[in-house]
């Protein structure tokens, strides 16, 4: 079966082509890029849309197994495809925690049978994510985990962290760690700023992140472990990262999309939608994170997609669950930042493609003959209405809701198969 998509624009070096071209897909791979090929069995008119390499998300909570009322692999991978993602890393904080080959296999089986995008499981670096005992790292690796991580939970014990890194280094594993010093963030639920002081919300100070970043960087330096940190929320964390990089440390970092578009001003009126961890911080922090993405200091933009059901957000703010449903709006929110001049298109696409691929040690996605046909088509000049009924995720707490966002994804293909199309709702 061969498919030719005509009349599309490729984006090279951050610039959309002035002229349209065609791509040909056969057996799940691109076989030709450039001119139209007449002999194809199926032709699709791209109507001048951009054709982009499928996006890669390093931080996605699919919620299955364990929290199916908040999201399932079936629903959340469709949401990912709706957002232009063709690959998502599944965070290990499932129930049971993905700390054994059996859970990894379950996730892979569910992804195979019910998912529509590539799901790369991330294993737990400690047993049960309890932060006390090492998980069976080598076993998780052989079961198919691409990395091991903290699942967004703080690791209280420095000694365990050091041993995780040393053990992971033995097997060349990458560790995904969210920096949070639990003793400094204890009891907190919002950025420790002027607004939290007024609202009486217990604060999460910046130092709960920055001291953890320092510790992680020093431990990575000592153990030689391959470390990926984030989501980062503070300007100061980026300064620490920069000086470690300049000192030659091999460490990568991510920021989550909501920290690039919002500040703690969003929680005024106790709006629990914006309860997330790390918390939304100040405008200076947001500007520094944008600059970090633009300069390449930050390797990846992630969704930190963490769908919640209504009950999880229906309580007094400190008692609500942190997390937003973001995977469907990452690209659109990013495009909005490009249109407002806060970010270049080239860096946005790199931070959702090349950057995460390099963190995973995978081939950089590109529209080139021989590569897997993971791509999506998007109408950059059109906008879509974000509302519960237009979101495919089971979680409806999106970073922007009841508003229009630029960039309409019209279809997403994974390995040459359609994972999402606005023509048939979802695949």
């Amino acid at each position: 079966m061969s498919l030719c998509i005509d009349n599309i624009r490729l984006v090279r070096d951050g610039k959309p082509d002035a002229t349209t071209s065609s791509v040909v897909v056969e057996d799940g791979r691109f076989v030709a890029v450039g001119d139209s090929v007449d002999r194809c069995e199926q032709h699709v008119d791209g109507q001048g849309q951009w054709l982009l390499p499928g996006l890669i998300d390093l931080n996605c909570h699919l919620r299955e197994p364990g929290a199916e009322r908040r999201g399932r692999i079936a629903t959340e991978t469709r949401a990912a495809a709706h957002g232009g993602f063709t690959t998502v890393c599944a965070a290990p904080d499932t129930s049971p925690v993905n700390d054994s080959g059996a859970v990894t296999n379950l996730i892979r089986d569910l992804a195979e049978s019910q998912g529509v995008v590539r799901v790369l499981p991330v294993g737990a670096m400690t047993r049960g994510l309890g932060g006390e005992q090492l998980s069976d790292m080598a076993g998780l690796l052989s079961a198919g985990c691409v990395a091991l991580g903290s699942g967004g939970r703080p690791t209280a014990n420095s000694r365990v962290l050091r041993r995780c890194m040393a053990y992971a280094h033995t097997f060349g594993l990458t560790l995904f760690v969210q920096p949070e010093n639990a003793s400094l963030s204890a009891g907190g639920c919002a950025h420790d700023g002027v607004l939290a002081a007024r609202l009486g919300l217990p604060g999460i100070p910046e130092v709960s992140e920055t001291t953890a970043v320092s510790e992680l960087l020093l431990l990575a330096e000592e153990t030689g472990a391959r470390l990926h940190i984030g989501p980062l929320s503070c300007a100061r964390s980026l300064q620490l990262l920069e000086s470690a990089r300049q000192g030659g440390l091999r460490v990568t970092a991510e920021v989550a999309i909501h920290h690039l578009v919002h500040t703690d001003a969003r929680i005024d009126g106790y709006d629990s939608t914006y309860h997330c961890r790390p918390p939304l911080r100040s405008e200076e922090d947001r500007q520094a994170l944008l600059a970090g993405v633009e300069s390449g200091l930050v390797d990846a933009i992630t969704s930190q997609h963490r769908p919640q059901d209504g009950a999880a957000k229906q309580a007094p703010f400190p008692e609500t669950e942190p997390g937003l449903s973001t995977v469907e709006s990452v690209f659109s929110l990013g495009l909005g930042l490009v249109q407002s001049g806060d970010l270049s298109l080239g860096r946005l696409l790199e931070a959702l493609g090349r950057g995460p691929a390099e963190v995973l040690g995978q081939a950089v996605p590109a529209i080139e003959p021989g590569n897997p046909a993971d791509f999506f088509l998007v109408k950059p000049d059109e906008s879509w209405w974000v509302a519960p009924e237009t979101l495919l995720s089971a979680g409806k707490h999106a970073p922007v809701l009841y508003d229009n966002l630029p960039g309409v994804v019209s279809c997403t293909y994974v390995g040459g198969h359609c994972a999402y199309s606005d023509q048939k709702g979802n695949a």
Binding site: G200, G269, D271
Partner: protein, 337 residues
């Protein structure tokens, strides 16, 4: 987008319908509350201490945190307004069986409750209930986490006004654990809204919020310096757990540095008022001689608490009822057309 404190607490016509925080209320509204409370003080002095303003209305006292004084003054206030009062012991009620806060309140609303008086350990609890759970039941915040305790702040304002006559030109110092205090947050807001000259906070850095100046205050680290020339001193209660969580070294050191003694009180303006929201820790934040001395108005605060609570309960109920009537009139209009 969640509602702002201003739009949440007012009807579209500008009447009070919930009393959640001082934030969002203007000077005219605060003054109206004080004036209404003044008129209720007389009720407390009668032999028959009742007015029929809330007759036939059901007020539910929902205290998710223990309280003696606040809860009993709310109960007395409701009874003096002739309301039927239901006190819910949350320790044995449904939330301890896993029922959510929303469900508990929706069940109580189904019992035709007209007003909820709520104390809860989470900041924003009363706001959440008024915004998202039962906006058609008048909500009175009796303290939410560290956020607000607006009836306490207003009874303090009433006490100050009784003694000073006006707020202009006053310098007020609040001493102690500001960071964890909902009382202080509400007092700061009320004092600034009512137009005092200066609000001072006196505390060590560990008991101050992040960038306290943003709250509209001057910050002092030393008690003697901060007390110089003030007209009102408000002492806050020190919780014992502050020592256990490494915020303070010891009660003794705290008393030595921040305890209000006769000697330190001499730094204030002559006859400055000494206030305390209670319950007081004698010998921890305040010397007995000061607490019981001629400048102390601590017991007057308690008496005023009933009048203030009667005021906000009657005002919020009347605003809420007016809004409900307009609502049903609009609905009738809708069905006719």
């Amino acid at each position: 987008m969640a509602k702002t404190p201003g739009s949440l607490q007012h009807t579209p016509e500008g009447e009070l319908r919930h009393f959640i925080s001082i934030d969002g209320l203007d000077r005219a509204m605060l003054t109206r509350i004080l004036d209404t409370a003044d008129s209720f003080i007389e009720v407390g002095e009668r032999t028959i201490k009742k007015v029929p303003l809330l007759r036939g209305r059901t007020v539910v006292n929902l205290f998710f945190e223990p309280s003696t004084r606040t809860r009993s003054t709310f109960e007395l206030a409701a009874k003096r307004l002739s309301a039927d009062v239901l006190n819910l012991d949350i320790g044995t009620s449904a939330t301890s069986k896993g029922e959510s806060l929303s469900d508990t309140l929706l069940n109580l609303r189904a019992m035709a409750s007209d007003m909820f008086v709520i104390r809860h350990a989470a900041s924003g609890a009363a706001h959440f209930i008024a915004d998202a759970v039962t906006p058609d039941v008048a909500i009175i915040n009796a303290g939410d986490g560290r956020h607000a305790h607006p009836t306490q702040a207003m009874l303090d304002m009433l006490t100050i006004r009784q003694h000073t006559g006006a707020f202009e030109g006053l310098k007020v110092a609040i001493v102690g654990d500001i960071e964890h205090s909902r009382v202080a947050r509400s007092q700061i807001r009320a004092l600034n809204t009512l137009g005092v000259e200066e609000v001072r906070l006196i505390a060590p850095d560990t008991l101050l919020p992040h960038k306290p100046e943003a709250l509209g205050v001057r910050v002092f680290s030393h008690l003697e310096e901060g007390l110089r020339g003030v007209d009102v001193v408000i002492m806050l209660r020190l919780q014992r757990e502050r020592m256990e969580t490494a915020l303070l070294p010891s009660e003794r050191e705290y008393y030595k540095l921040y305890g209000l003694t006769t000697e330190k009180l001499a730094r204030t303006a002559p006859n400055a008022l000494v206030m305390h929201p209670g319950p007081i820790n004698r010998g921890v934040e305040i010397e007995s001689a000061v607490a019981d001395g001629p400048q102390s108005v601590i017991l007057g605060q308690v008496t005023n608490g009933i009048a203030i609570r009667m005021a906000v309960m009657s005002m919020a109920m009347s605003g809420q009822l007016a809004e409900r009537q307009r609502e049903s009139a609009r609905n009738r209009e809708g069905t006719r057309s």
